[in-house]
Symmetry: C2
């Protein structure tokens, strides 16, 4: 029997009661402190997907990282705050020993066949087959679960210098080519290392405090994508006061904009370093 994919392990949830799911952290998904934020976003979304009252597909997801999740079990409590005819507003809270570590809101809804247009353009990139396989970031356990092929803005190595821009562009897929579903797409949106690493030329203590993803892909587009590479690009707009923002886009090989994602990130660093 094939062992389950690490991603499926990570988003596996047991039903405790109608509105509570129980999951657990997995060492493969460890980040510097607590689990990879993307896997936490994925499990929050997955928890809502398991609810029998859920209607439609994910449209928007916001995950606020209030505290690191400790190693071990966690509970996710779910509440449909409002159900409309074609969409539904969810609240989800992840807690451990009664203390909330993660808060999420999500909008699910029905997609309809409407006028459509993609106004954004994917970043210029050679096909992934022409690039060197690598990892999205060094020193982190979960990085080794992905194949990341940088076009620009690679993770800064040992002798890296500060960059003038924070943009990273890379092809990425998970190593086992597990088909991309909404939780996997939510995780991919958070795969980029903190933009401050690029600008400062190395590791800077930092952590996402709020992550918002808009899902543009419908289920048919995800089915067409399967486990293929996704082209991701991310940049920051402003660093100040110990925080910066990041905006990212994820594209399929055939130029479908799958998701746009934004986050606000805490970072540490004295002015004197600048």
């Amino acid at each position: 029997m094939t062992p389950p994919h690490p991603f499926d392990n990570a988003i596996h949830l047991d039903t405790i009661d109608g509105n509570v799911r129980r999951g657990r952290t997995h060492p493969e998904w460890a980040n510097f402190v607590g689990p990879f934020g993307g896997i936490t976003a994925a499990v929050m979304l997955r928890a809502i997907e398991t609810h029998p009252d859920r209607i439609g597909e994910p449209l928007a997801l916001t995950v606020n990282f209030a505290a690191p999740t400790a190693d071990g079990d966690f509970d996710i409590s779910l509440r449909a705050a409002r159900t409309n005819r074609t969409n539904q507003h969810w609240l989800a809270e992840l807690s451990q020993d009664g203390a909330v570590t993660t808060i999420a809101t999500a909008v699910f809804g029905v997609r309809r066949d409407t006028w459509a247009s993609t106004e954004a353009h994917p970043p210029a990139a050679p096909p992934p087959e022409q690039l060197v396989p690598g990892v999205p970031g060094d020193f982190i356990a979960w990085g080794h679960l992905y194949d990341a092929r940088f076009v620009a803005g690679a993770f800064p190595g040992e002798h890296a210098q500060p960059n003038e821009v924070s943009t990273s562009t890379m092809w990425m897929r998970d190593n086992a080519q597990r088909p991309v579903d909404y939780p996997a797409l939510a995780a991919l949106c958070d795969i980029f290392c903190p933009r401050v690493f690029l600008r400062r030329g190395g590791f800077v203590p930092s952590g996402t405090i709020s992550l918002t993803t808009y899902f543009h892909a419908d289920q048919r587009q995800l089915d067409a994508l399967g486990g293929d590479f996704v082209l991701g690009t991310a940049h920051a707009n402003r660093f100040s006061g110990g925080y910066f923002d990041q905006s990212a886009q994820l594209w399929s090989r055939n130029r479908a904009l799958l998701a746009t994602s934004h986050q606000f990130v805490y970072f540490k660093g004295q002015r004197s370093q600048g």
Copy 2:
């Protein structure tokens, strides 16, 4: 005695108990259906600001519009889901007659003196004094509370044609030049008409379902801004399945990036129109 500014009226809240505030809708702020989303975002943020346990300044705000707020009173319930040493995670729910119409999460926190850099560039624009005063949009009550001076992508008028891009850029300030505080900044982030109006060349039924704003400006920068014009620019990335995203930036005259803001919007429209 000078009557209070309509914005101060709109965000005025009475304390019902420690965690509940009561406000009311105001006809000046009416939109097509329910109040202007920006004023709802502002009052949610204001409610958190009034809480005696609040620490620091607003960093990130997400407002999910679950249903239109009906004319009349509303209650906002507040909960500090997690308080850390330098930041705090809030949940706020606006309800009428026990039914939730709006859900917000917010992160407040302390800003520190760190390395800083603004990577984005403001859009090219002549000074506001060289442009014609106008309103952000026709047919809406609240539009007349603002002075909006378009640089690009004006609100489509009666004989407008579809545009190839959805970008709007404009200088804006409220008519009474009330100093911009965080609630006012939150409202300004939602001032842009739905991007689908630009692309389709006219009115299309639409409404924001989720709005996220990152506050880059600290209090000192807001004090320096006062009631001066703010340069806003907004664009969409993809329209599909009856939804589109919008990303916006708000700049001060002296090129400070005050806020970045993103939203996901429902729109109506048959494929046959395209």
